[in-house]
Amino acid sequence: MTRINLTVDGQRVADDVEPRMLLVQYLREKLGKTGTVVGCDTSNCGACTVHLDGRSVKSCNVLAVQADGGEVTTIEGLAGEDGQLHPVQEAFRECHGLQCGYCTPGMIMQTVDLLAENPSPSEEAIRLGLEGNLCRCTGYHNIVRAVQHAAGTTGAAEGASA
């Protein structure tokens, strides 16, 4: 067992974990943060995306011990304390950027990272920025619209045809 100390969604936590424990397992099974989901288990789909020290990572592809000393933000840490949705969460709801919703936590966490680096991305930059997140329902169109909506870059014509 290895002792880890980290901050998850603003809360300090400390635990003894097996070195082989994945960060996503730690979040879900030790901390009960099941908002972060496991999709593919092969590090392809991005459903398990969280932020580690301010950058998006696939939490199925990080060991919990590698996150020792770090700061993790999950989908459960985005909304305000009063339940006010994060603007990106609000945009996904507004634009119906989901169907089954399984990929949504990862899509939203990756979108927050993308917009932090590039607040006004082109459609191509959005599609490239979400390259590591797979959605099997939507065909991505409404997801891209949701990101544009969150960024305030939705074109009038697109809005009319949506």
Binding site: T2, P19, L52, R55, N61, L63, Q66, E131, N133
Partner: protein, 285 residues
């Protein structure tokens, strides 16, 4: 799936890491960013008894101006290398290749040295490193030594790093003013390339003065397209000037055959992508 159980050490200096490697030897695996290793451990394709994590060694991170070269710390993430203005100015080919490497999340964790030491012939960094004649600095019990890129890649997933050594730095000579392009052919997003071509060229007026070209996934290691490079020197930077040289790109290569395409198909792709890459590197794409 989760990995088989292993012991874990996270040294904070290269010396400590070398000591851990000496102690655990064949039973140990080094983890850098882990973006290639962790999937392998989770699928239980490998089950080391010990994992030595280089993630706590601050001295292995960052890009430094070494005068006639850039010194890239082995543990610098792809994202940080890709965003570095010095890399953009002096080794544009590396910046270009990184924009095609995996996806944003993987680029935030994966490291420049880790990917090169992994030596996957379908990895996106080997061909640029080879084309730019990078120098690999490794540290072992007896001190440091330098390995030229041409000697670094030995075979599939095999490099010239000895079992008791750690890759610490990659030195890239400066190529200020050279154009560059990385042309990667994939069927789906964030796939490994079926074939990719890394090309950097120096123009004199409208003429290609020098060209450096590396091929990804055209053999068990990254390879140089030397016949193409030689023929390009002195050619006009036009479709006609480049086509004949690009047709030689696959000469002497032994590409794999798999579900994505057989060897002949890859040879064809290499010539097409080389033509596109050279023209794009020359600003004519």
């Amino acid at each position: 799936m989760i990995p088989a159980a292993f012991g874990y050490v996270a040294p904070t200096s290269v010396e400590e890491a070398l000591a851990a490697l000496a102690e655990h030897g064949d039973d140990a695996k080094i983890i850098a960013g882990g973006q290639s290793l962790l999937p392998v451990l989770r699928m239980r394709l490998n089950a080391p008894e010990w994992v030595i994590d280089l993630g706590r060694i601050a001295s292995l991170r960052g890009v430094r101006d070494g005068g006639d070269h850039l010194a890239i710390g082995a543990m610098t993430t792809h994202h940080d290398v890709g965003q570095d203005p010095m890399v953009h100015e002096h080794a544009l080919l590396i910046s270009k290749a990184i924009t095609h490497l995996a996806d944003a999340q993987v680029r935030h964790r994966g490291t420049f040295g880790g990917a090169l030491a992994h030596a996957d012939p379908a990895g996106d960094l080997g061909a640029p490193a080879l084309a730019l004649d990078a120098i690999f600095v490794v540290q072992g019990p007896g001190g440091s030594r330098e390995i030229p890129a041409a000697d670094f890649f030995v075979d599939l997933f095999e490099t010239a790093i000895s079992d008791d050594e750690i890759l610490t730095e990659i030195r890239v000579p400066k190529y200020g003013g050279w154009g560059a392009s990385y042309e990667k052919f994939v069927r789906i997003a964030h796939q490994w390339p079926i074939v990719a071509v890394a090309a950097s060229v120096r123009l004199e007026g409208d003429t290609i003065a020098e060209a450096r070209i590396g091929l990804t996934n055209m053999g068990s290691t990254p390879v140089r397209a030397r016949a193409t490079e030689q023929m390009l020197a002195g050619q006009p930077a036009t479709e006609e000037g480049v086509a004949a040289a690009a047709a030689l790109a696959a000469d002497g290569t032994t590409p794999p055959s798999d579900l994505n395409g057989d060897a002949d198909y890859r040879r064809h792709l290499a010539t097409v992508l080389t033509r596109r890459a050279v023209l794009a590197a020359a600003g004519r794409g």
